[in-house]
């Protein structure tokens, strides 16, 4: 368990060090601070979206030591000492990630609210399984809801990002 201090109201505050997108941040958080709020409010990384705060929609998906998680279901103190990748950390400074490129190319983005979570789930999927079947792609993003696209172009984009042929 992390180091903590007790404030004047008797509330414990924990010192956490979390590596986000390659940068180590050391911050004081409350025990109930959600990772999504740590990212959005403490670090101003608002690319990670909140759509339900119940783990249902996947908009807040980030990678925690490479695995996709709903950051609304993880406490900041649980991520202490771990590596987090958010949408802001997917592209290098000069180049988009291939998945981002394909999302642009295949029209996989409409309102954009699900895009961050969708891209991170796709990233995790392709890291684990570089040549997924269409069914595996569908399963891989089934925790990320999209209400705009009907998923069709998202699935095409991920298949294309894996270097596989995309049927029209």
């Amino acid at each position: 368990m992390s180091n903590f201090i007790v404030d004047n109201n008797g509330i414990k505050r924990y010192l956490v060090t979390i590596n986000v997108n390659g940068i180590e941040y050391t911050k004081v958080v409350k025990a109930n601070t959600l990772l999504v709020n740590f990212l959005r409010e403490e670090l101003d990384l608002t690319g990670t979206k909140k759509g339900c705060e119940l783990g249902d929609c996947g908009s807040c998906t980030v990678l925690l030591d490479g695995k996709p998680v709903n950051s609304c279901l993880i406490l900041a103190i649980e991520a202490d000492g771990m590596k987090v990748t958010t949408i802001e950390g997917v592209a290098s400074t000069s180049n988009l990630d291939n998945i981002q490129e394909k999302f642009l190319e295949y029209g996989a983005i409409q309102c954009g609210y699900c895009s961050a979570g969708m891209i991170l789930s796709a990233k995790a999927l392709l890291t684990e399984n570089p040549k997924p079947t269409e069914e595996e792609v569908r399963a891989g993003i089934s925790g990320n809801l999209c209400r705009c696209t009907g998923y069709i172009n998202i699935i095409k984009a991920i298949m294309a990002a894996s270097g596989q042929e995309v049927l029209n």
Partner: protein, 777 residues
């Protein structure tokens, strides 16, 4: 016809890069210095009077800055939907909402709101507000709410609990038409409550300056109408209110045509009380229980035909569940009737429809706006007529559909229709000939194919106030700025409107900037709804672009000593007719007074600037409306052991007039289809006996995931409507419209059972399958 360089191409979305990298800003992302957070106390009762409300303990909680109730907020009636800003004088807009009232009319209705230093403190304060309620009788079904014994939810003049007017659409003589029919089918159909579940919940941030100027960033689909509503609700002049998107919106689908439920007025109320910026973000549960839904209700259809299949008469009746406040309950039944009766050439038609107030979450606008409900009934009646006459449902449709120039009930002409082509292409994609032959003996899985067709609108004129303005200013380097009051909620507005401008003027797309979704920087526009943005705002952008082009050609004509009509203007180059691009080397501006043959847009704009001139184009339009057409052919499987309906594939062929950006058009169709699939087989909000909603989270509500989504083949049909920009018509809502009927008709083909109630849940389907088997045994 002129070659198109930019229009008709699947160009990359202008907002995609920001959205793919997490840098796009939404209302929920905003954070202003000193900003407070608001939370709302909601009614636990379906209908009650507030006898006493005590906020003293809540106000004492450390970190609480203000508590708002009906006692300390304006008592000016409004309607959260844009209906109060665009109802035409033949009807009165229904204003039936206060920011807070001393009567609550549904579980979730607003009672009070707290502004505090954090959401958690605000939530804690809500628990300290003491409310004493006197319970009132409540009613949840629209038919029961019309009975004399039902409680009065609002004063109404058209009938018991009927908001606005009863809509009647007559043409010909239906009694005569039915008397002349050889065959008649009639039935009642029952529709559920569907929820938008746009990914970004309702949200607003409000700031009020010391001199009373109100700025609201919000998720609204209609910034300009929202300004009108807020000015009315707070009793200030419209010039004191600015409404803008920040600039992106996490989906809409109709849920924020007007205000974003009450996010804006609650934020403004608390910003006024505290003098600080206030942020309101609805939780997903609040979004489910206290933000408009699709109208549930009942639809009756009676369709008569001759033995040869010619339709003689149709009677349609709709009673929709409007919920506790009017919102769009006056217009929705009108669209159901107007669209439902405009698909087929039938000499005798009649529609009678209205909404009814009940004590449930208000129903308002949702993609399709009454049309999917009506078509669910009509398209199944058409299939029943086909079955009884032994005709192919596809051919029966082709025989009866509206053709260009046919008389119909709509107050504008049908100038284009590609419906027959849509039917043929969708049928071909799914190999329609298989229909009726897909079941293998002894299989526990039944298979079928069905069709549904329909039409919709491309804007809301002449049913409602509906107009657009656009400015185009040419900057000093020849690039341009388009200003339009519509938002970007995911539908591609800020990509396709610049495509129209660039193509019309004759400049490259990368020379076009756009300001949008902001009442301060754009002229009035009625906003994004009614599948209208590309068609209607696009018409204004094209008009402004033509105005600019004309000015530029006149100026260039003087400069090049050539009549404007003898100049060509494309790709940023203005030149004398017949001159090849390769001959246009250099800037074209000569220091000497030699006559030039060409000039670039860049040099021309600067040339004008040096002579104290800027080109500014204005477009002010009210396009007359145009019918988009669509046919969906759907393949389903029905598991006889579980009752599960699986949609395997949907071929969705849409006459969109002209696809300005085909990739974006396909995306609109695909998204609409899947929303329709959810509506057909899984999505539904039910309530308990006391009116408490049971489906209050995404987990409980069951909208389709990527694993559930069928294969969807979007097929674009182009008919070039003479009224639309480059021939375009509406598309945004259309994927939704025929989907439920196409699925129900496919399930009928598979099972031989006619389902009259949505959604086709395993429970509902299994019950009917068992009943049928019992009858056979």
């Amino acid at each position: 016809m002129k070659t198109l360089n930019i229009v008709g191409k699947s160009l990359r979305r202008a907002d995609a890069l920001e959205k793919a990298t997490g840098t796009a800003t939404f209302s929920t992302d905003l954070n202003l210095p000193g900003m407070l957070y608001a939370k709302t106390l909601r009614s636990p009762h379906a209908h009650a009077r507030i006898i006493e409300i005590d906020t003293t303990e809540a106000e004492k909680l450390l970190g609480v800055k203000a508590v708002a109730t009906w006692k300390n907020t304006p008592r000016l009636l409004f309607n959260t939907s844009a209906t109060m800003t665009f109802t035409l004088p033949n009807q009165e807009p229904v204003l039936d909402q206060y920011i807070f009232d001393n009567v609550v009319r549904y579980v979730g209705d607003e009672v009070a709101a707290v502004a505090a230093i954090s959401e958690r403190v605000a939530e804690a304060a809500l628990k300290l507000i003491k409310v004493e309620y006197e319970l009132l009788p409540a009613v949840f079904d629209p038919l029961e709410a019309m009975e004399e014994s039902a409680p009065d939810i609002h004063p109404c003049h058209a009938g018991k609990n009927i908001p606005g007017e009863i809509i009647k659409i007559p043409m010909g003589d239906v009694e005569k038409g039915f008397a002349e029919s050889d065959i008649i089918y009639e039935n009642r159909f029952t529709l559920p409550i569907q929820k938008h579940v746009q990914l970004e919940t309702q949200a607003a941030v409000a700031q009020v300056s010391p001199d009373g100027n109100i700025t609201v960033w919000s998720t609204t689909q209609t910034p300009h109408p929202s300004r009108i509503i807020l000015a009315a609700a707070f009793g200030v002049s419209q010039s004191k209110v600015r409404v803008l998107n920040p600039p992106y919106i996490g989906g809409g689908f109709g849920v924020r045509i007007g205000l974003s439920a009450k996010a804006e007025p609650i934020a403004v109320t608390l910003a006024k009380l505290t003098g600080k910026p206030v942020k309101v973000v609805y939780s997903r549960e609040e979004d489910f229980i206290a933000s408009d839904t699709r109208h549930a209700g009942y639809v009756w259809v009676k369709l008569g035909a001759k033995r040869d299949g010619t339709f003689q008469a149709i009677e349609l009746k709709g009673v929709l569940n409007g919920g506790a406040y009017c919102s769009f309950s006056c217009e929705t039944p009108g669209v159901m009737g107007a669209m439902g009766l405009s698909v087929y050439r039938i000499p005798n038609v009649s529609y009678y429809g209205h909404s009814v107030y009940t004590n449930i979450t208000p129903a308002g606008a949702m993609r399709g706006f009454g049309n999917p409900q009506g078509m669910f009934a009509i398209e199944q009646a058409v299939d029943e007529i086909a079955a009884q006459l032994g005709l192919d449902p596809l051919e029966l449709r082709k025989q009866n559909i509206i053709r260009v120039g046919d008389p119909w009930i709509l107050p504008y002409s049908c100038r284009s229709t590609g419906l027959e082509e849509c039917i043929s292409k969708a049928a071909e994609e799914l190999n329609w000939q298989r229909r009726g032959t897909m079941n293998e003996p002894g299989s526990k899985i039944l298979r079928g194919i069905g069709i549904g067709v329909g039409t919709h609108v491309s804007n809301s004129w002449p049913f409602c106030v509906d107009y657009d303005n656009a400015y185009i200013t040419v900057l000093q380097d020849g690039s341009i700025m388009v200003a339009t009051g519509v938002p970007e909620m995911g539908t591609g507005t800020i990509t396709t409107l610049p495509q129209l401008a660039a193509e019309t003027i004759g400049i490259p797309l990368d020379q076009v900037g756009i300001t949008f979704g902001d009442t301060l920087t754009t002229p009035f526009d009625i906003g994004s709804h009614a599948s209208r943005t590309l068609y209607a705002a696009g018409t204004a952008v094209v008009a402004a672009a033509n105005d600019v082009r004309r000015q530029i050609l006149e100026y260039a004509g003087d400069l090049l000593k050539t009549a404007p009509e003898h100049l060509e203007f494309a790709n940023g180059l203005i030149k004398k007719q017949g001159l090849r691009d390769s001959e246009c080397v250099g800037s074209g501006v000569c220091q000497l007074n030699e006559v030039q043959n060409f000039i670039t847009m860049k040099d021309l704009a600067y040339h004008a600037h040096l002579r104290n001139k800027q080109f500014i184009g204005i477009g002010r339009t009210t396009p007359p409306n145009a019918p988009p057409w669509h046919a969906h052919v759907t393949e389903v499987e029905v598991d006889t052991e579980t009752g599960m309906v699986t949609v395997i594939k949907v071929a969705a062929a849409h006459d969109v007039g002209k696809a300005i950006n085909p990739l974006i058009v396909e995306g609109q169709i695909e998204g609409g289809v899947l929303m329709g699939v959810g509506y057909s087989i899984s999505e539904e909000i039910k309530r308990d006996a006391k009116g408490k909603p049971l489906h209050t989270s995404i987990h409980k509500y069951l909208l389709p995931t990527a694993a559930d989504a069928p294969e969807i083949k979007a097929i674009i049909v182009e008919t070039n409507d003479p009224t639309g920009p480059f021939g375009a018509k509406g598309v945004g809502e259309c994927g939704m419209v025929p989907t439920p009927a196409a699925i129900a008709n496919a399930v009928y083909d598979a099972t031989g059972i006619r389902f009259t109630e949505l959604p086709l849940t395993p429970e509902r389907v299994l019950k009917k399958l068992q009943e049928k088997n019992k009858n056979i045994i």
